[in-house]
Symmetry: none
Subunit: 411 residues, 2 copies
């Protein structure tokens, strides 16, 4: 079962709006075992849409199109569908009844503009729309079952769930597409590629692929087939990936480094404090995103000015003078200072140069020092992070969380 | 000048990730007058990508493809391009030199996996990548000029800006699509719709539409045509919008509330300090995203535990006992406390219940108190914010910044 998704709308093609529908539809089809092979985002141009319908009719089993069913003149999905089916558009009694009921319920006449929404290609079925004027259309083009639904987000979601998915459920050969995502931090993509080379061979089942953001490498494992068999395959691959990548693995699914840290803090019953400079509160903000963190996070100090490092964190001013604010001794003193002030079990400090200004030949933009202080003492580490100001800060926050995670794992 | 955008990656097609690159590329091409007519999101499958290259070679002048240039085995953009061009892949000396320089700068050997990134279709040009191992490729398929760049977001953006756009500048026929976005905070969407009803009539030129997120309402104004004329139309509408929406307007384009605050702090030469509870450092992290904020932001204290509110911010414990941590007196004491501690001109405090737990009938989830302290005294305000934990925190951070912005405007 191969599926194609069309998102129709000039605003989408020109980049005025971000298309999030295609992802939503792709995920929903995946859970039914319908494998999406292509999305196309198309202009409100009849011939362009006709071509896309015909192409999908030749190479796909299912097509879901969103958008272009409205009452305005640029909405041409219904016309394109009729042309691709080589049939005329006709008033459909169900669509007429829907529009009249809709207008009556609101005490308004049916507008001339809305009339076009009663037209459906001959032989096609109407998909009821419980929340808007535009009914959907179910039809067949070539070998593909075609479903056209409105692009208005609330209407799209309700009609996908209520009309499209039920018509596809069980039509797959009992097959589902499932995904497991193993998340890692601290590896290079080429290392992962070498370590998992045998799993990532194209055409292998399950398919294994990677995606990288801000130092986090996600390993996606996915396959289609009978549900029990697919689960077995994914479990086996996930176990292999976890074993080979070892301590770099911090979680699965959508859980971030902050969730891994929060879970370990729960297990250990530990309290923490943070001292941030270049990250500016990002480490703290990520942790506070996890419900229940209030049992563990006592305090975070964004000691952005040197006077704050000295007065709030107790960093000796002579350390800053001798080594600079971005240095190992200052990072250590920040971690120790905030741990003492908050009375926390463990504390992490970050100080670095996020740019664009402030870099020197010895300490270029991207130089970041980290320190962790706990009952066993204080450790420090330096990283040279790449990217713009935003990415350097995001990467630095992830590093700080990972240092904390790895220390908590050891405890 | 018709352009097609390809986003390559199985995770994108299956809906594991949201594709935001196509929008970014479409907007950038629009500013050059290159009209994007189609996006396609494709599986990491060589034949699928070959077909898309050939289709664009027949019906487009420009093709920009992102993704599939990494070192892993599922990356097949370069192979597909070579097949579409009907030429072999060859080691390109510039790509080899790039990879060696990259490895040397990091004191690592060139890995076997990365070697594939030196392969380029015969006759194609290399596009330098200043921030990653994967060079881009410029070539021709049919009548289309083809640009392949990596899908890693930071690399994609830098290479689009630095390599692709300069090669296309001046080739368009003088028609452009331009967008201006006026940003507001503190209004309801229905208020905006009523105030701007005459501008938002469908079919009007320019088109005016709104988009809402976390209390920020963006007014998008866009039109296509000859550049000078379009700029004139957008300027006129932007001026009308600004005049009608008044003090709710905080900026234009991609600038956030934090940029508006930072600019006002620059103008006033003022220093600030922050005391955050439920936002957990988010206000600070947003401000620290603005380069140069170090001249103004002295300190932020995430006083998550009550002991931190008392000991670091000097909130009297009897206030917390009498009114609770989420209350007007505590918000005021937090703002005054952090202002005193940091010696700042102005201080803002946030304390609230982000949920999912912790709500009571008197103080339901979403109750947030804000206070601002400066030389003129202290003011406080309460909001009931809607949404889940993440959205409540995001909204609270925006409110805090907006309170600061409106106060700085008055000074």
């Amino acid at each position: 079962m191969r599926a194609v998704i069309l998102s129709i709308g000039t605003e989408l093609v020109r980049g005025l709006h971000l298309d999030t529908h295609a992802r939503h539809v792709a995920r929903a089809l995946g859970t039914l075992g319908v494998e999406v092979v292509r999305h196309e985002t198309l202009d409100d141009d009849t011939q362009t849409i006709v071509d896309a319908f015909c192409r999908a009719g030749a190479d796909a089993d299912v097509l879901v199109a969103t958008g272009g069913l409205g009452p305005t003149q640029d909405d041409c999905t219904r016309h394109a569908l009729a042309q691709a089916m080589d049939v005329p558009l006709e008033e459909h009694p169900e669509a007429v009844a829907h529009l009249q009921a809709w207008a009556e319920a609101r005490g308004r006449p049916v507008s001339a503009a809305n009339r076009v929404q009663t037209l459906v290609p001959r032989g096609a079925d109407v998909l009821p729309n419980p929340v808007g004027t535009a009914v959907g259309i179910a039809a067949r083009v070539g070998k593909a079952r075609v479903f056209c639904i409105p692009g208005v987000p609330a209407e799209m979601r309700v009609m996908l769930e209520g009309e499209v998915l039920p018509r596809l459920r069980g039509t797959g050969p009992g097959r589902v597409t499932l995904v497991r995502t193993v998340r890692t931090f601290g590896l290079r993509e080429s290392e992962v590629a070498e370590t998992l080379a045998d799993l990532m061979v194209p055409g292998r089942r399950p398919q294994v692929g990677t995606a990288v953001h801000a130092g986090i490498i996600d390993i996606h494992i996915h396959a289609s087939g009978e549900e029990g068999e697919v689960r077995g395959l994914l479990n086996a691959d996930a176990a292999t990936v976890r074993e080979r990548l070892g301590p770099a693995v911090f979680g699965e699914g959508g859980a971030g480094l902050e969730n891994a840290v929060a879970a370990l803090l729960d297990e250990r019953g530990a309290t923490i404090a943070l001292a941030e400079s270049c990250t500016g509160g990002l480490v703290s903000a990520k942790l506070v995103g996890v419900p229940g963190i209030s049992a563990h996070l006592l305090e975070a100090v964004v000691a952005y000015a040197n006077v704050s490092k000295v007065e709030t964190l107790g960093v000796p001013p002579e350390l800053i003078e001798a080594h600079g604010a971005v240095s190992e001794p200052v990072a250590r003193a920040m971690a120790e200072g905030v741990r003492r002030r908050a009375g926390a079990d463990v504390a992490v400090a970050v100080t670095g140069i996020a740019g664009p200004g402030g870099g020197t030949p010895e300490k270029p933009v991207g130089t970041v020092w980290f320190a962790l202080a706990d009952a066993a003492g204080t450790v420090a580490a330096r990283e040279h992070l790449l990217g713009d100001r935003g990415l350097i800060r995001e990467r630095a926050a992830c590093h700080a969380l990972d240092i904390l995670r790895r220390r908590l794992v050891e405890c």
